[in-house]
Amino acid sequence: MANSTTEKSKAVPAAPITAISVLAPAVGWLIPGAGHMIQKRWIRGALLFISIMTLFLLGLAMQGRIYRANGGDILDILGFIGDVGAGALYMLSVANDWGQGAIAFATADYGTKFMIVAGLLNFIAMADAYHIAIGKKK
């Protein structure tokens, strides 16, 4: 059993670290979809950009809450991790103190979740950009 595991790990060579394999996820985190665009996947990048941006901006417009770095409640920490995935949008929101209002209506909580999901979807998009960069995905 141990041998088969060792053989499997030997069979898959480690992806070489190239400039694009570092740059694509980094740029993709900062601007959703940009990791695909710098690899000339224009339509995919544009769709990711529109989808993630729209979810995040709708969340803000719905009076959702932005989580800041904190060491308190576990759900607040997870909320922060989700939000921070949105990259520049998150930084812009924190810098302008957006998303800090009191939740005034029931569906405002959806706004909070929209922004967390936008960040988490951007993490997935970053991983996809990385896989394209290392040639794992066509």
Binding site: S51, T54, L55, L58, L121, I124, D128
Partner: protein, 60 residues
């Protein structure tokens, strides 16, 4: 600017954009992306409708 979506609209918007991202990131060819995105969208929205009706039945 404040937008107040109702529950179904919020679920629809969420399902639409999450499905687009899932489709693009989880499949390799364009055809598969469209099919998988549509599949996710139907599951998201279908799940909401089923859960909604289930809660309505439970309440009665």
């Amino acid at each position: 600017m404040t937008i107040a979506l109702n529950h179904f609209s919020a679920a629809f918007v969420f399902a639409l954009f999450a499905s687009i991202v899932f489709g693009i990131t989880h499949r390799d060819t364009v055809r598969e992306m469209v099919r998988y995105g549509a599949y996710c969208f139907v599951l998201f929205l279908g799940g909401v409708l089923v859960a909604g009706w289930a809660m309505w039945l439970l309440r009665r």
